[in-house]
Symmetry: D2
Subunit: 503 residues, 4 copies
């Protein structure tokens, strides 16, 4: 894959994280050099350039004489290694190096070319600095990216082939040369949001998958309920204009193709909102995800350098480009949207356990020799949902003036992403529980032939094959764990794609 | 203004609220009739149609015989008059009637034509039902719109020419005929989000104005600080891709035209983030507002009826159209964005009161005979900001299963709007305080000639003319109140527009 | 009532607010003088005493020469008039003056004696400064109490006999002499939490009443449900050790004396938690209220002066006494506790509308000619509950460094109290709705003789007499308003007291 | 240690967790038997007793015939194994078994005696069931305690001597007999809050230690600042009445014994609130912790059984005893209090890095060859503080009606405890950073002799010995990690106790 500084997609990121090799385009290479030359030109200027010949933060008023610049840059890396545990995943660091490298290629950073080349080597040879991931306030991941800086200097720990080494050892082994950070290099390496952006980039496909799973699972729940499919009617769908809702509706229709619901004569007059409004709820989550993706794309196409090099005019300019408010607001909206998805799922389970709505046994007890069914599992689901709710509360507007009041705001983007990450994990567990409820209800409703949709039927069968109809001697946590594994194993997007092909 | 069911804009709504007369287009009129005919056709059907020949909520299982339908519809209105105080403003009710009427014209509602006609009369003759505004959970403003239903029946209180009457009196006076609600009418009147949508529609222009004000005020603060305008450099602005940030940057440039800052030789190396990142912070608020507007437009073009009439196929269909999750999420994002705007403003005041950043006197004390300056006002601003912060916390995902578990989710849209409304009020007070700080700092920095931008200069002068340089014998609350009035009085958009014209 | 500086109770405050005259004890008077003498002694010292011969906040480094002290103090009052609207109630200002005066009597303030005397006159002659109430961050209500300072100077507006005058006019009329603020006076007048403490003091009895009302109403709901009273059994109550729960249980038993529930043979096996756990939920609210009261008592017995005069050692000492963290935490706990009370009430209504739990008609529909009953009212209750939930979110730990970073924390106590105030109002409306549900259920359960408890029966009858059994032609908001008035009118504590007497 | 059912202290719990053997007192043993006899008596009664001869939750309406009771109880355990990962720590499970066993000894549970005996064996022989810890809503840890039930049946996994085995193996090895759950046993085993209470019990001593550490560290920071100790003056301390504040003040005085601050002539007029108000802030945390402890003590002395056996009257009674609102509210208050402690600590660091307040170098840069000092570390601290803030938000009032609407409220106590646990971890990291700031400031302020307090001096030396004066080549995360280890290693309570002895 050739990197140009622009057009990097989430799919690209996934591929490089997965091992694909990268190179730098010729044009981008030229920009790297041109940009560096501007920096070097300013070495002898007496204009004060932030972080080039001045200190950083409140220390911007301090001059760095030319002969001290190398020392200054090395200290800068050390003094910013303030991130604490937990460590970032290897994938996260790889994606961060890719995004950061690609950003440098826009020609705004002015780093020495060797830094870009070494990042390239790190990616291509599988060398990944070990990075403590906690400690960024979201205005540049400076206390985190410093660990990558350390790695570029051949210091600290790195992962290589899945094992952990002193960077020095690996450099020797592979013949890599440590960087001697010089003018503006240190700041250019640490002043970026690449860690946060990469964490988000890796989460987005998971969230999209999860939403497809919810469409499918809710379709199965609708079959389990014997619900009303009128809200999926084309005329109904088209008289509401939200894009996500249209996508979700299509998924429902796709999943239910062949289902008995389509030809069911006596319809319920109306279903509970958690069923009836599901395409709008999931739709809002799709829309929020799209908004997040758009913001990420804008960020990946933007510079996040400060100061930035203006090659055309040979200037170095102070910028606000590390500011992450747009993407932070977007993710917080997504977090809330996902908490609605979770909550509606919990409400559907409750209905599936209620004979008033299903006509089936209470809590889907298998037979008269059983006494409990899935009642207790509601508590697990409710706890997950409260945790998700908690993770959806707003953090972006809690802020302290730091760095001598210079840095007087923050977005807490890394904490918001940590919440999103937690939500994704918990949401999959909620999903597994709804899937269990729906499967059990179907098993009870249709003891013999199961007139399900092609797609819902396929998923039902996979789940059902594990446990059959659940009796009270099943330990439910084992069942949930198995279902969660199936969710990981099955490629939901492919299932839907095949279904659409066959349509 | 001719209503067609589609294309209703916020500007249209403002005009009608302001007194412009409306009519119904021919096509729309036809749709009203066609839609009604479908409803009447079902009167003798034995298909169960929600709210037509069945009860509502959990009572959907109850049949309403034809001869009871009128009684049922009248009771429906009474039994849904559950909104409590505070009352909605006249403007809000007028806007709600307009939106609701326009929505009926899409032909999905199936109300009797006389209802649309009477709403038209209400709008054109200035008859406005008195509505208790508190009590909707955001899935249809059913407990609120019922008061408009009451008004249509010629009952309850109405405002007429700014006075309050028994509806009956005004009906007699104007020769209006009370509606006899019949098949589906009651439900069609109360099952809509028109109150919430109208409240939002009326707030949007205010918020936009406020954001323009913040651009201007922050520009003035930048002059007061003697700050660095590099972040407004065209190359910098273009290397970041957010739309709102570009708009905000243009406003800054527009406001600062002619300012000494443009030709200032020695620049500060970097300014605090509350200054440097202001265009991105305001930009994020513009972007959030745009997202909200898009959602509102989608809603105004959509049906929010349930059930809805499908004229083409002569059907009545169950829908989830009253669901407001999309717009609720969008507004919650906006609320958070506005809280960032507020917070950055408070941080700027703090800097303007700090000699380290301004070189001026501490807290902008006027002279050596004064001891306090604007110090205490920081507390007022901080309290406003905390209140705004509180109003930006998430409410949309707090929910209870109601109506016999049928309505098992809610978005709390009306409470979210109440928060937005509060934020707008408080934010204007924060703005007034920043304006005061900036004005005082300018007065101290440039005792004689004030080399300000054309636009910033104009606003400075207006504020300054009221108080001159503030001494400690001024009672600050009076000053703030005067500034707030000026903010209301001046049409900021026109100021900017003129400036652009002159450019 | 003679004020001594100590032992002031909530009941005392209520009495003085209600018009009772106050005087100052001899001992306290002596302390006032002794304390003032210490202040005057320091006038010629060259020790720096905060706010006496130095500026305030960050301006603590500035010296105030003796001849400027009067000017300094006058400016201090003006420059701190930064509170904005809404205004405080007359009662709140009167209570604040009382608490503040009483605190001065401890001898820590060192104000000139005339200030205490004039506050006394204000209280006794019904002169109440008009005070803008918004703008304190909870570390001393300095921007609010300044208005009382203004009043003491004979400036600004005052309320006198329910009318609003220029202070000057009233001073002339009554022969009052304006204070010339001198050494430390200004600071002593504004640096206190008297406004917040008084607001709380006035709310506490209302909350206690409300909790008694919930005990009674829940007892009635239990009769309406035909619930199980085993949780009120003496053995059960005693095997749990919380004090509030014991009080609540006693109230239930008291309210239900004579009820059919006591002799009911077939008991429900268990009731929903909102019924069964009610004494523990209400009990936790009582316990939280007790904790709040204890904190308030500690505060009323403490000094909140800074600096404070140490008469014994003739010193003036810097203190943290304006810090309100303890009471803020306590009130936030109470706010959460009250939100539990609200939520359980809403859940009980839902059960009372559900035939599965009551055996009565759905939503307590009066007869077969009615279609709605109290269904829609659930939405009003749910909205109130969400608002209460929102008001119970934590605000105390949102903070900004102000006053040149000197004041680098805040508790937002005034906003927390504003939330508490809102909760109390909303909670009464929730209560009214539960009372309506319970009354209607009783009316349906026992069409003829109503075998209720003595106390529950009495309250039932009062409510029932207004409306009889509710039909769907009742406008429910009118019913709720009437009930809310009855709640205000009836002295619940007296009802319980009588009942206990009769027992 | 002999267990009696009453008087179990946190210290007792720590000792048993640490390996101390337990026995059952004679009286308690008798109560176990008497209580069991009441249960067995009811076996042939036709009274419906919840969970004895009826189903649970909504299934309370279902009869369990005598011959099915054993089967019912076994299924109950299986069907409640719904807790998911993460697993509880061994210590937590041991403490839970102890608390649960002790509670059974009160005679309210009615379990078969063999259950108590086997729990005793588990404790004494070091057999600890493996328990999935996530999934309780705080109204009885039923989905969690079920795993202990499984262990008692000789099923599932257990930890034995630090290794994991199938329970069966360990039972065989040790000659333990699996329990055959019979009448009421299952419910008595799972319906308790023992897991939550034990988690809290194990956290309380850690929190108390941490608060002592903050007293000491803040004392050191005060020395680093050269601050004003007047707020510790006896007269000042006594004129405020909060108990925690008095304790904290004593600790400060104790820690500073011998310090130069005590005899420093020129005092700062006032210090920033984060210093000046520290004893009140820490004091509020002590007070909140005391309140939590009181609630825990009340709970440990109470029954949490439902239904409970009344031996005296030979009855089995329905109770609300599993309700945890009191303790949940208390912990939420503590969480907020700790977030204040954290925030004030961060504010103090900021001051220690600011020459205006210290007269030292900016960000405590070691010498003119260094450029950064501790600036970047502020971001780590700020991020920790925001995370703590997030963990202090209210969760107790988010609730869903579960179990067929029977369980219509929840407190989320386990999630609140999870938050508390996270706060404790993060708070220690904040503490370590303040300690680093204070140590560096002292090192710079007193290059040669360090005239510190006895206790502050001792701690300073330990920290200083690790790193000396920090230069910019130190990797700060390593320094923080070392300090955090020292915090763990040193017994702070003993340090203070020795100091007091020596006084």
């Amino acid at each position: 894959m050739e990197l140009t500084g622009y057009g990097l997609t989430i799919n690209d990121i996934e591929r490089v994280v997965g091992g694909e090799k990268v190179s730098i385009s010729k044009k981008a290479y030229q920009r790297l050099k041109d940009s560096r030359n501007v920096v070097l030109k300013y070495l002898d200027s007496n204009e004060h350039i932030y972080g080039l010949n001045t200190g950083v933060g409140k220390n911007k008023d301090r001059c760095i004489p030319k002969e001290k610049i190398e020392d200054f840059n090395r200290q800068l890396i050390y003094a910013h290694c303030v991130g604490i545990e937990p460590e970032l995943s290897i994938n996260n660091v790889r994606a961060a190096m890719l995004i950061h490298l690609n950003n440098m290629l826009k020609g705004y950073s002015g780093v020495q070319v060797a830094i870009a080349e070494l990042l390239l080597d790190f990616l291509n040879w599988g060398v990944t600095p070990v990075v403590n991931g906690f400690g960024s306030v979201g205005e540049g991941d400076i206390g985190i990216l410093s660990y990558i800086g350390l790695g570029l200097m051949g210091e600290g720990l790195v992962d290589y082939n899945g094992e952990r080494f002193e960077a020095k050892e690996v450099f020797e082994k592979l013949g890599l040369k440590p960087i001697h950070f010089f003018a503006k290099d240190g700041l250019a390496v640490i002043s970026s949001n690449a860690v946060s952006f990469s964490r988000l980039a890796l989460l987005i496909p998971k969230i999209e998958n999860l939403l497809y799973w919810f469409d499918l699972t809710c379709s199965l729940s609708l079959e389990a309920l014997g619900g009303n499919i009128t809200p999926l009617d084309n005329v109904v769908v088209k008289s509401k204009k939200h894009i996500g809702q249209v996508l979700s509706s299509q998924n429902f229709i796709s999943a239910l193709k062949g289902s008995y619901l389509l030809s069911k004569k006596t319809k319920t007059v109306q279903d509970p909102l958690s069923f009836r409004n599901a395409t709008l709820i999931h739709g809002a989550a799709y829309d929020s995800l799209t908004y997040v993706q758009e913001q990420l794309t804008l960020e990946l196409e933007s510079s996040d350098d400060n100061p930035m090099v203006d090659i055309a005019n040979q200037r170095i300019l102070s910028t606000p480009h590390f500011e992450t408010i747009n993407i932070s607001l977007a993710i917080e909206m997504l977090n809330v949207a996902l908490s609605h998805v979770s909550n509606a799922s919990v409400q559907r389970m409750i209905k599936l356990g209620n004979p008033d709505f299903t006509g089936l046994s209470r809590f889907l007890i298998a037979d008269e020799h059983q006494y409990f069914g899935l009642q207790a599992l509601q508590k697990t689901a409710a706890t997950l949902d409260v945790e998700i709710h908690h993770s959806s509360q707003i953090l972006s507007n809690i802020s302290y003036p730091l760095a001598g009041e210079m840095e007087d705001r923050q977005t807490n983007l890394p904490l918001i992403l940590q919440n999103l990450d937690g939500i994704v994990t918990k949401l999959q567990e909620v999903l597994a529980i709804e899937l269990l409820y729906a499967t059990q209800a179907i098993a009870l409703r249709f003891p013999v032939n199961k007139p399900l949709g092609d797609l819902t039927g396929k998923v039902f069968q996979i789940i059902f094959d594990h446990n059959g109809t659940l009796q009270d001697h099943h330990k439910l946590y084992e069942v949930i764990a198995r279902i969660s594994k199936e969710i990981d194993r099955l490629c939901i997007r492919t299932l839907f794609a095949k279904q659409e092909l066959s349509a």
